[in-house]
Amino acid sequence: MTSSMFFNVATIAYLISMIVFFAFLAGRNKTIGFAGSLIAYAGLAVHTLAIGLRWKESYDMGVGHAPMSNLYESIVFFAWTIVLLFAYIDLKYKYRIIGAFVIPFALLGMAWAQLGMNTGIEPLVPALQSNWLLYHVITCFLGYAAFAVACGISIMYLIKAALEGNDSSAQAGGLMSMFPPLKVLDDLNYRAIMIGFPLLTLGIITGAAWANYAWGTYWSWDPKETWSLIVWFVYAAFLHARFTRGWVGKRAAWLSVIGFAATIFCYLGVNLFLSGLHSYGGSKM
């Protein structure tokens, strides 16, 4: 399968991009930062091609379906959305150092998928034979990716806040000079969640619409549904926290990190540790 080879190329591109971003962090050379972004974009292009090819290959096999039907395909798609969102933030806000904290998430996903999972294309089980699959998966994972980016930014915020808190005079010294100012990080965190929250909401709504169409209940407190609601509650809290004194800054950053941890549990933990209606998302390793 050629798509598999391209997925490997994309994974290696993300690895190199991450290393280059780390070098950028240490060396503070703008050209290196630019190279980091370019390599990530190249990886994204190959990744896109690979997803398209896998889609086509499934049709060639006679089981044609969008490549979003099992854990392997979803994690590959998740990594793709993370890099896509990074590209958006990079191009729009020009703080490419964020790549050093966001690309590792995409790399981790791709490496796990390529090394540890069964990559075979499988036919679609009856429960997934619906156009809702596409709408539901795309909205959910774009939302998840925005939360991943927000989490990376929050980690930067917490590192910077901790280091500057210890020694306020060294505000512009060392590694920290590469980091955007705290105010900017806080704002970017908010912006990323502003993208993620409506997408997660859409993901939950399309999921509910699909569940109603396929099973006759739009909400049945299935663990996956409940965890998506938990994630929604956490980010709703984050959005309201911004208007409350005493909750801005560090606490908001922590909420964003906790929100992403809940997101990951909703995505992986529910399938691996809890049982429910989303069992087809479980791994076949």
Binding site: E122, W215, T226
Partner: protein, 454 residues
């Protein structure tokens, strides 16, 4: 006393209006919701009851942990959440309405200093002429202004998307609408289940509590079948259903194909393909026995689990039969049976016989060749049944929520003031959100403004 009451009312209003309560509720809802994803909900599986200590079981039951999303305390949290949402919105809405309906037409000195977006040009013409050309300029570049004269200055005020400030309240309202939809559904809808054997019809379904719910019409299962992929994984479960009124098929509801993800809805009641099986009770299976040496084949009929003795004393017992053998015998498909054959004075032999692979049946080099001919057993289809008149209210709420979120996050109330004084005109700008994007728009307008010759 009166002051105490007043302060109590005041205190409780403040309490329910506070954003801190909102945060507390959101985090509490998130944390408590975890319980129901870890503990089993509804009917407890016996294995679970066996492994948990009786004290724990009792405490958890008392706390409603086994049906926590319907427990008094979780529902109470949702009610307080709604109350908080309503009081927060009621408290802030008048303020926002005032902001929208009575815009700041005149920019005071202090406000002028507060806005970072501002430019200035020198004007030489008479005030009236300035007013005319600047109003036209603002109208062309942004939106038509309202002109107010104040302290010898002219204030031109124009705005865009003032109502976008209401976005967040649309989201709050949408949550309440969804709750209303859910309540309508739980009061006047139901969820049920029914299984229909091929060729038979039903007019009631079984509710969640085991009660029989009359449908008011009949549903006939004409046929049920399953398709498989080459790998043996199921591809499609298919029921052919017909709706009957007074024993007659309803036009347009005859021979309807119902598969997973394609339900059938009639009179607000929807039927979803959910499970299937063989209605094996009392059904017969047919086996043909052919002597290898030639001679007339013998046809026998046998029930599952029962045995038949052939003319030569051989005993044939049907252990089990399936209409799709793929998952039990890879490489084969179609109907098959597992039988136990005991020749007179010999030890019993157990093997599988197929309907579609006669050569396999013959390969078993024995004096008698056994072949499976199938069964008169019928399939039954298992259907989830749901009636939910509140579902459209829920979708209305969801639509409102998406629209509200879009307005709240991606639109902003943009305002531009032009203040004309003797000798100069100044332009000021402000946006309720996303100041950076507005700044670019403002800069473009301000650039043209500064090139004006008045």
């Amino acid at each position: 006393m009166a002051t105490n009451e007043r302060s109590f009312v005041q205190d409780s209003t403040d309490f329910f209006c506070s954003l801190k309560l909102t945060l507390f509720l959101l985090i509490s809802l998130a944390l408590t919701s975890i319980i129901g994803t870890v503990l089993p909900q509804g009917q407890l599986p016996p294995e679970y009851v066996a492994q948990i200590s009786p004290t724990k079981l009792q405490i958890y039951s008392k706390l409603g942990f086994f049906d926590m999303y319907h427990s008094w305390w979780f529902i109470s949290l949702l009610y307080i959440f709604s109350l908080n949402l309503v009081s927060c919105s009621i408290k802030r809405l008048p303020h926002v309405f005032k902001f929208v309906s009575e815009p700041t037409l005149v920019l005071t000195e202090s406000a002028r200093n507060a806005y970072s977006l501002r430019r200035e040009i020198a004007v030489s013409g008479p005030m009236e002429k300035c007013r005319e050309s600047l109003a036209a300029f603002l109208g062309a570049e942004f939106s038509s202004p309202v002109v107010t004269e104040h302290n010898g200055e002219l204030h031109l005020f124009s705005q865009k998307s003032a109502w976008s400030r209401l976005g967040v309240y649309v989201v709050h309202l949408s949550i309440l609408v969804i709750f209303v939809g859910a309540i309508i559904g739980s009061l006047s809808g139901y969820k049920g289940f029914v299984s229909i054997v091929e060729g038979t019809s039903i007019n009631t379904v079984e509710g969640r509590n085991g009660n029989q719910i009359p449908l008011g019409f009949e549903v006939l299962c004409e046929k049920f079948s399953v398709d498989f992929y080459a790998t043996g994984a199921p591809k499609e479960f298919r029921s052919i259903l017909t709706v009957l009124e007074n024993g007659k098929p309803v036009p347009g509801y005859s021979q309807v194909k119902v598969i997973v993800n394609h339900p059938l809805t009639y009179k607000g009641i929807t039927f979803y393909q959910s499970s299937y099986g063989q209605a094996s009770e009392g059904s017969e299976h047919y086996i043909t026995v052919t002597p290898r040496s030639g001679g007339t084949p013998e046809k026998i009929a046998v029930h599952e689990g029962a045995a038949v003795t052939l003319a030569d004393g051989t005993m044939v017992k049907l252990l089990e039969a399936t209409q799709e053998v793929r998952e039990f015998a890879p490489g084969f498909s179609g109907p098959a049976a597992r039988i136990e054959v005991t020749r007179k004075g010999a030890t019993p032999q157990t093997f599988i016989i197929f309907k579609d692979f006669p050569e396999m049946n013959a390969q078993r080099g024995d004096a008698l060749i056994f072949g499976y001919d199938g069964t008169n057993a019928r399939m039954y289809t298992g259907l989830q049944v749901a009636k939910d008149p509140g579902v459209w209210v829920v979708w209305l709420g969801c639509t409102l929520m998406v629209v509200g979120l879009y307005i709240a996050f991606f639109m902003s109330h943009k305002r531009i003031w032009l203040v004309i004084s003797k000798g100069h005109a100044r332009i000021y700008g402000n946006a309720s959100k996303n100041q950076a994007a507005f700044e670019m728009q403002f800069d473009a307008i301000a650039e043209k403004f500064q090139k004006l010759k008045i």
